[in-house]
């Protein structure tokens, strides 16, 4: 019997189903792996367990008894603790204060109790005990959190969870920010916690880690449990096969046109801290793929191309060089970015679908657009918008509905339509299909190919190697900020060959990425 069991949990957002009758059971002293692609529903499931999201249907069973009311308060009382991906600590408090956060020790005596005087020494002693308990002695509990490393931050969070008598520990991508030896330390710690009968849920893209630690694995795909693997069944191929339904996911449109001879864009990126000097060019109608592992400099390249962090190089469109210092210049010259983070960098949630779609079109100025540049509701701009959202396949109820209410896939398509409505020469797409549903993915691939055929230069930046392998005319592989390899027609090779080139040093990680699951 599990410590906590989720039974037939379903949840949907604005009609899009995120979880469908999902079952999950966590056992004391056992580590359960939860794997799945981006957008498979992992975080929603975690949020249901921790009481942050209320499921539409289904129930939670705690120690064999179904719970009636469940919120983060009850979850915490039940001993559930989450170590989130973003390590949320208060940087200016000490390690001890962070460990004791929420329920600091209070001084004894009448006065101390009445006023709630903080007992700093006591807190520090207790924090040290907790760290001792998990076998860590290298962290100074009196030091501020600001200066500590990601792995130490993780340890602080785990210590805090222990302080709260966590029986159930949920780790979301715990090793994303860790170096190899730190990872080993964390695993040692997790094993000790398992020895103390803690139930652990490990959410991870790193299948070899899951394989190493998990006693059973639940695989999610598109909000459903597609496999529950017991310990002897846990192999990387088994997990991968369950995660990716080839028949659904791998429908890339054929790219059967050749780019034109003329160059639309030449780029030379220099003095960007995360990149060595990089220069390349894009031809009209060419899809230039860019891939690499985390830290390869992909996003930095995207940002530098439109001058998002100030000037980091020279861009030339049709031989006219300029140094972009703000993305506005790019928009006016026809070099547009569809950024990596849809919510934070692309969608303006309170504005309507229409306004979100036309915001870039109006920047072209009076000279080129006449009065339309002043009035976003004018017919010229409206017809441009209508054409683009139809071409890209953005689905919405009303033009006046707020864009924040669209599903992730439709938001992403809206951002692409926004960029295309400016009739760009070059479109820079940074992770365009991350966290996007399968149908929208297909729409996005189709529009990329259609637009390239019509003469658009596309820079497709993605950590999904299958995507760039299938769609690119030419592929640049980055490695620690260096343009390591350039491949013409990557489809002439097998996808696995390409993956070897990503990072020959780290074969273990390659194995994961070779299945196109995500970043290392």
């Amino acid at each position: 019997m599990g410590v906590i069991e989720a039974e037939a949990i379903s949840k949907s957002y604005s009609g899009v189903s995120v979880l469908e009758k999902v079952n999950l059971s966590l056992n004391a002293g056992a580590l359960t792996g939860l794997v799945g692609e981006n957008g498979a529903g992992k975080s929603t499931l975690v949020n249901v367990l921790t009481g942050l999201t209320r499921p539409d249907s289904g129930r939670l069973i705690l120690d064999g008894r179904p719970v009636s009311h469940w919120s983060h308060v009850e979850a915490r009382q039940a001993g559930i603790s989450v170590i989130p991906q973003e390590l949320l600590l208060v940087p200016d408090l000490t390690v001890a204060q962070n460990i004791m956060l929420g329920e600091p020790l209070v001084r004894g005596g009448l006065a101390g109790r009445a006023v709630g005087l903080r007992d700093n020494e006591g807190s520090e002693r207790r924090a040290e005990e907790l760290l001792d308990e998990i076998g860590v002695s290298s962290i100074d509990v009196r030091g501020r959190v600001r200066g500590i490393s990601p792995s130490q931050a993780q340890i602080v969070l785990i210590a805090r969870a222990l302080r709260r008598d966590a029986r159930i520990l949920i780790l979301d991508e715990p090793t994303a920010a860790l170096a190899a030896e730190e990872r080993d330390k964390l695993f040692g710690l997790l094993r000790r916690l398992l020895g103390r009968n803690t139930a652990i849920l490990l959410v991870s893209h790193h299948l070899h880690e899951v394989k190493e630690l998990a006693e059973n694995v639940t695989v999610l795909r598109n909000g459903r449990v597609v496999a529950e693997l017991a310990s002897h069944e846990i192999t990387i191929p088994a997990m991968v096969q369950a995660m990716l339904d080839r028949s659904l996911d791998e429908q890339f449109p054929p790219v059967n046109h050749e780019p034109a001879e003329d160059t639309v864009l030449e780029a030379r990126v220099a003095n960007e801290p995360a990149l060595r000097e990089v220069s390349f060019s894009v031809r009209r109608g060419e899809i230039l793929g860019v891939t690499g592992l985390l830290g390869a400099g992909k996003t930095e390249l995207a940002r530098a191309l439109v001058g998002l962090d100030g000037s980091h190089g020279v861009i030339a469109t049709y031989g006219h060089p300029y140094q972009p210092t703000t993305p506005r210049q790019g928009v006016r010259k026809g070099v547009l970015l569809v950024p990596e983070e849809r919510k934070a960098q692309a969608i303006i949630p309170e504005l309507s679908v229409y306004r979100n779609g036309v915001i870039s079109s109006i920047t072209k100025g009076l000279r080129r657009m006449g009065l339309s540049a002043i009035f976003p509701d004018s017919r010229t701009i409206h017809s441009l918008f209508s054409k683009m959202v139809a071409d890209v396949g953005v689905r919405y109820a009303k033009e006046s509905q707020s864009a924040g209410r669209l599903s992730g896939g439709n938001q992403q398509k809206l951002v692409i339509a926004r960029a295309l409505a400016c009739s760009p020469r070059v479109l820079v797409l940074d992770e365009p299909t991350r966290g996007v549903d399968v149908g929208s993915k297909r729409d996005i691939y189709r529009i990329i190919v259609e637009q390239a055929k019509a003469g658009l230069g596309v820079i497709l930046i993605s950590s999904d190697t299958r995507e760039v392998w299938a769609l690119s005319h030419r592929l640049l592989i980055f490695h620690h900020g260096v343009m390591a390899t350039e491949l013409d027609h990557p489809r002439n090779r097998t996808h696995d060959e390409l993956v070897i080139l990503l990072s020959p040093a780290d074969v273990d990680d390659l194995l994961v990425d070779s299945e196109g699951i995500g970043e290392i």
């Binding site: 928009v331 969608i347 303006i348 306004r355």
Partner: protein, 336 residues
Amino acid sequence: MRLLGKYGAKQEVQKNRQIWDYLAIWVRPNWETLRLLVPVAILWVALAFLSPSFLTVTNVTNIFVNAAPLALAAAGLTVVMIAGDLDLSVGSAMALVSTACALLMVQYDVFWVLALLIGLLIGVATGTVNGLLSTTFNIPSFIVTLAMMSTLRGIALVLSNGQAVTGLPSSVTSIATTTMFGLSAIIWIPAVVIPTLGFILSRTSLGLNIYAVGGNREAAKIAGVPIRRTRVIVLSISGAMAGFAGIISTARLGVGSPIIAQDLILDAIAAVVIGGTSLFGGVGRMSGTVLGVILIATIRNGLVLMNVSAFYQSVVIGLVILAATSLDSVGSKRDD
């Protein structure tokens, strides 16, 4: 020929249609804003019963004339707050404009129309300076305008030596008594300026940029919105509104005063917030602010008519702000 004529006519129609497209302001009823009409209407009906002198032409005119500077300041602030900024210096800018205009006319014998125009420009300039300081040195506008609130008031006091500037030409004071189509000139200024601002917000690219900058600055930047320029413009608009409000106050008082509008900013923020504009930017409507101003002005007027002490007025206004905003957040509570 006939065909050609037809074609020509069609062209003509399309051209006219296009101009109409640019300028069309079809009034789309917005229920969230109109919700505010309910308390305003209840208040007006109640006051009409409670005080026989409330629903008279003189009194109603009086309400609007009194509210004119507040309405202008609140309108400017609405634009600023939608862009995610704040302008605390409006009242002080009004005092500076009032003092400077009066001094120009009285001490330097500047023609009154020119003096008022210069006053307006001073208002715009204070806003532009706010904007440039905030964007250039990357200081939040809250801090910049807090500093300017003190600085501008100080300049006004220094210029006037702390005294009201008297002896204005009669042309200026007569603005307050002039009427057009039965409405005081004092009402005409906000009646023209505020809808214009509303039009800019809801119908123009500048307005769209303002919402975008307040709604998600990073996204707006990547989409090509000129962040810095938009923010400077927004604060300049607020400065211009302070200019108008300063001129109106000068005309009504008949003196240039460095001590006017000391607490105006509080009422202005209250009106904007009651009107549904978000403190975090990206959300808000001019019509909401106008109703917010009317609500506050009516409460102040009604309480005076009913001989309620001015001390209680503050209490009531405070409670109204709490009621309006808490109702709002209850209404907009998300299900996820």
